[in-house]
């Protein structure tokens, strides 16, 4: 069988594919960013000494962690409106779902990181006269970010790839755009190979940059007094 590659299909659909890529980037960055911001208070709430705060938060976090992400998307998009709930556009549905998903997994990473912040560092900040909020801002937050970065890095890269699930509810991101291109011109090898290259070209630099960040001075953890 003669091999008959035709990569012109990529070139002819470059605008659509780049728009899809841009949507993928937006989905990832926005839900990763919002999810991270939400994750820190969720992690603090999971460690709260007050049961009425801790239990409901842990229940919701555990529930969200237990459900497969595709199911969460389908439930939000098809399930919720079917029982009279609000109906969101595919993009909003994907953003909300990915944000919530990222928040609960990042919260778990942060929870472990907060637990590892040395008590003596917190105590010395308290002893210096800091308020509860100042201790969170000056000690817990910077220490947690540094401790959580390697695991957060993995979550973020995973989110980038999982964002392709939004194609299930017709969000015009990269994978969905590719399937539209394919219905027009059935060149699966060329189109999917282009996607492989595009995903790798996006994910690898981010992943490498985050790794390098981990080894900078800014990420040095605490130093104990002898």
């Amino acid at each position: 069988m003669a091999i008959n590659w035709d990569f012109t299909v990529i070139w002819h659909n470059r605008d659509a594919l780049l728009l899809g890529l841009w949507m993928t980037v937006k989905l990832t960055v926005v839900s990763g960013g919002l999810g991270t911001i939400l994750a820190f208070p969720i992690a603090l709430a999971c460690r709260s000494t007050r049961v009425e705060i801790r239990w409901p938060v842990i229940a919701v976090v555990e529930l969200l962690r237990a459900i497969p992400l595709p199911l969460k998307l389908l439930w939000m998009y098809f399930g919720l409106p079917a029982m009279g709930g609000p109906e969101f556009s595919p993009i909003v549905t994907a953003l909300v779902t990915f944000t919530a998903n990222f928040a609960v997994f990042a919260a778990d990473v942060f929870r472990g990181a907060i637990r590892d912040v040395p008590r003596s560092q917190v105590d010395s900040a308290v002893a210096l006269g800091m308020s509860r909020l100042q201790v969170v801002r000056r000690v817990l937050l910077p220490e947690t970010i540094r401790r959580a970065l390697p695991a957060w890095n993995g979550l973020f890269v995973t989110l980038f790839k999982l964002s392709s699930l939004a194609s299930m509810i017709a969000v015009p991101e990269l994978l969905h755009t590719a399937s539209l291109v394919l219905t027009d011109r059935p060149k699966p090898f060329e189109v999917y190979t282009a996607l492989v290259v595009l995903y790798a070209a996006m994910v690898l630099p981010v992943s490498i940059a985050l790794r390098r960040l981990e080894s900078t001075r800014w990420f040095t953890l605490e130093v104990a007094r002898p």
């Binding site: 308290v126 210096l128 509860r132 040095t220």
Partner: protein, 248 residues
């Protein structure tokens, strides 16, 4: 105004770890506190600044007073910490903040001083503690003795009226320990009342106005350093002083 600890008691379950501890530190005084490991010295210093709630008694400094069961972020606990600073035995420093940033943290975050005031305070305390050459270094780049001085500078920069130093010179060689002790002496001559938890018996003999011995959560000796070190009265005091002397 004195730092006044009145009949402070603390239990862990049924275990009484501090029992009716009373002590008083006057401004400008160095009051020594010695005792075996696990006698309750560190716990006592944590209780005085309300890092740890206690079960009975009180701590009074001027208008600030903390009662039993006060939690660490109560208003009274915060007020107490504005008057009483602590430097801990084990302390960890964030590796990503410079010495200057570490000293500035109290004045800028806690006291809310202006940028120029903070800079002046940092320069003043760094100068006094010999930290000027280290201001832009990170904790990983300086020695243990220098870190001990950074810890003192951090506490001193918020102008506490009293300072508790919990074995700040342990693990330092005698020469460096001597330098740090001199810094504490300097603070005391500024009028800061110091409660010095230390094993530097000779320094305490020379400079402390009073010496307390804590044994199993009870103050068993209290008096002029020479008397406590040379002629302890209580069985526990005799046991500890003799053991400490044999150890050297």
């Amino acid at each position: 105004m004195t730092l006044d600890v009145q009949r402070l008691s603390k239990r862990f379950g049924n275990d009484v770890v501090l029992k009716d501890v009373s002590l008083m530190v006057a401004p400008g005084e160095i009051c020594g506190l010695i005792g075996a490991s696990a006698s309750g010295k560190t716990l006592l210093s944590r209780c005085i600044v309300a890092l740890e709630p206690f079960d009975s008694g009180r701590v009074v400094v001027g208008a600030a007073s903390i009662a039993a069961h006060a939690s660490r972020f109560d208003g009274t606990s915060q007020a107490m910490r504005r008057m009483v600073g602590v430097v801990f035995q084990t302390q960890r420093f964030p590796g990503y903040r410079t010495v200057a940033q570490l000293i500035a943290e109290g004045p800028s975050v806690v006291a809310g001083s202006s940028r120029s005031e903070v800079r002046d305070l940092v320069m003043y305390w760094a100068g006094r503690l010999g930290l000027i050459p280290h201001l832009h270094k990170f904790p990983l780049e300086i020695s243990g003795g220098t870190l001990a001085r950074v810890a003192l500078a951090r506490a001193a920069a918020v102008h506490p009226q009293f300072l508790i130093c919990d074995e700040v010179t342990a693990n330092l060689d005698p020469a460096v320990a001597g330098e740090v002790a001199e810094v504490i002496e300097g603070l005391a001559s500024d009028g800061v009342g110091c409660l010095l938890i230390s094993h530097q018996f000779e320094f305490l003999r020379r400079r402390a106005s009073r010496l307390l011995v804590l044994a199993n959560g009870v103050i068993v000796e209290s008096g002029p350093p020479a008397q406590v070190l040379d002629a302890p009265q209580s069985p526990d005091g005799i046991k500890f002083i003799n053991a400490a002397k044999r150890g050297r």
